[in-house]
């Protein structure tokens, strides 16, 4: 709906909460990017900055929540206006979570110094992070432009992230079984991978909100899921024994 409200202040309110959301999205994209740079370069200062900057993301979420509360109380939004405020509220909470994942990645970087030899693992994490970062950006773009097709592409991309995560999970298990000294760093690297994989899930949630805003209904949750790490452990054990 392009037409302005008769009450101009209502338009201003809606524009403001959406602008805050996009600012929050920008901060989360940057946090994820910085966390990956810090991981790649072993830059502990940058990691500390990611951790500290997460407070700004949390503060924005709280501000959005308050503004949305005010819009609902004062403007009684309906139809597409109601979907706008509800989607902003949901997306702010989702982005806040993504910020936490970036912070968690940053927190674990200092213990990975001794785990440099597994370069294939690092490149898998990087690929995952690259995919997830573009999913996040595309999800926010699809929201701004009301582009349902783009939002659906983001949801489809999550499959790739899940597959990368699965292969990484297997590889980490192999390392840990072969050399128990790698268990501690491998566990941390696994948590990093898991955090990134979760950002991918949340990017699909953001895309779902973009679709909801345009169509009025959330897409069904029957997309293919590929995180099978909970079932393939026994298979891996057999592989190792036979091999």
């Amino acid at each position: 709906m392009n037409t302005d409200h008769i009450l101009k202040a209502f338009d201003a309110d809606l524009e403001k909460i959406q602008a805050l959301l996009l600012r929050m999205g920008g901060l989360v994209e940057k946090a994820l990017q910085d966390a990956m740079t810090a991981l790649d370069k072993g830059d502990l200062d940058l990691a500390a900055k990611v951790i500290a900057d997460d407070k700004a993301i949390d503060a924005l979420e709280e501000r959005i929540r308050q503004d949305v509360e005010r819009v609902i109380a004062l403007r009684a939004p309906t139809a597409s206006d109601l979907r706008t405020v509800l989607s902003v509220l949901t997306m702010a909470s989702t982005l806040e979570r993504c910020g936490d994942y970036a912070r968690n990645v940053a927190k674990r970087i200092h213990v990975l110094e001794e785990f440099r030899y597994a370069s294939s693992l690092n490149s898998t994490v990087k690929r995952m992070a690259g995919t997830v970062a573009s999913m996040l950006a595309d999800a926010l773009d699809s929201y701004v432009s009301g582009d349902v097709a783009k939002a659906q592409e983001v949801i489809a991309q999550d499959l790739e992230v899940d597959q990368l995560y699965n292969s990484m999970f297997r590889e980490l298990l192999t390392h840990m079984m072969e050399d128990p000294r790698t268990i501690a760093p491998a566990m941390h690297l696994h948590f990093i991978a898991k955090n990134i994989e979760r950002v991918g899930d949340h990017a699909t949630n953001l895309s779902e909100q973009a679709i909801y805003l345009v169509t009025g209904t959330l897409p069904s949750d029957d997309r293919p899921k590929q995180d099978v790490t909970s079932v393939n452990l026994s298979g891996l054990r057999d592989d190792l024994r036979d091999g």
């Binding site: 709906m1 008769i6 009450l7 139809a79 009025g216 209904t217």
Partner: protein, 263 residues
């Protein structure tokens, strides 16, 4: 008619079926081909900007437009399957079946008792004083006014507060035991507390009557109705479940109106 039935086409279980209703005031066409099936025992809200035809359509349902010489109505309106514009239908009798409450409370300058007893008396609904007393008490009870006025039934109705006067008018309208109640902006002259009381009463009445309310307050339509009809420029643009109209209207004009983009 179940909660899920939404139709503009006539249905056998609808309370009121309107088919291709056109209304003219002289040469000016106020309503264009309005068709809708109003369900029984539910609240239906008519919304739309001023001059959209919602009150005109409401007034067709109890033939109030008959009193306007330049007004011409075509099309069919049936109440329980009976054509209300058929030559043998007595509009006075029809209005006993289809009660009406207006924007401004308009009690007769008579006692509270006489206000409510007036309709039942002229329609010969009571054989004796006791029966009339019972009808009056029941109507005042249903209008949620009895407890406030039972000790002063013979004082003037015009001495009540605005909200009480409006409930008195509702009691007067339901005293003739109508099956349909038309309300033309019944709360626009009332404060929020009196409005809430009337809205509560509307909910209550809908278990017994088909209630149609014309309102300028979209929030009121959202609060009290199960069905909403949106009128614009003399057309019935959209008729649907109130839940859907206020969350996912299917017509852009409905969306623009309920979100405050056209007036």
């Amino acid at each position: 008619m179940t909660l899920d039935t939404i139709t503009n086409a006539p249905t056998t279980d609808a309370k009121i079926n309107a088919t291709n209703v056109n209304v003219f005031y002289d040469e000016t066409q106020a309503l264009h081909d309005v068709s809708v099936a109003i369900p029984d025992r539910m609240v239906t809200a008519f919304i739309g900007p001023s001059g959209c035809g919602k009150s005109t359509f409401l007034r067709c349902i109890n033939r109030m437009n008959d009193t306007i010489p330049i007004c011409r109505v075509s099309g069919d309106i049936t109440l329980d399957g009976q054509d209300i514009y058929a030559p043998h239908v007595d509009p006075v009798q029809l209005r006993a079946q289809v009660g009406m409450v207006f924007q401004k409370p308009n009690p007769f300058p008579k006692s509270i008792y006489d206000n409510v007893a007036y309709g039942p008396k002229i329609h010969g609904m009571a054989q004796n004083r006791q029966e009339l007393d019972d009808i009056v008490e029941q109507a005042l009870q249903r209008a949620a006014l009895w407890d406030e006025v039972k000790d002063r039934l013979h004082t003037s109705g015009t001495g009540l507060s605005g909200g009480q006067q409006q409930r008195l008018c509702i009691a007067r309208a339901i005293a003739t035991r109508p099956e349909t109640l038309l309300m033309d902006e019944p709360c626009s002259a009332l404060d929020p507390i009196a409005t809430a009381q009337i809205e509560e009463l509307i909910q209550d009445l809908s278990s017994r009557f088909s209630v149609i309310i014309v309102t300028h307050s979209m929030q009121q339509a959202a609060r009290v109705s199960q069905r909403t009809a949106f009128f614009h420029l003399g057309h019935l643009v959209e008729f649907g479940k109130t839940d859907d109209i206020f969350t996912r209207p299917s017509d852009d004009r409905t969306e623009a109106y309920i979100t405050g983009r056209i007036g």
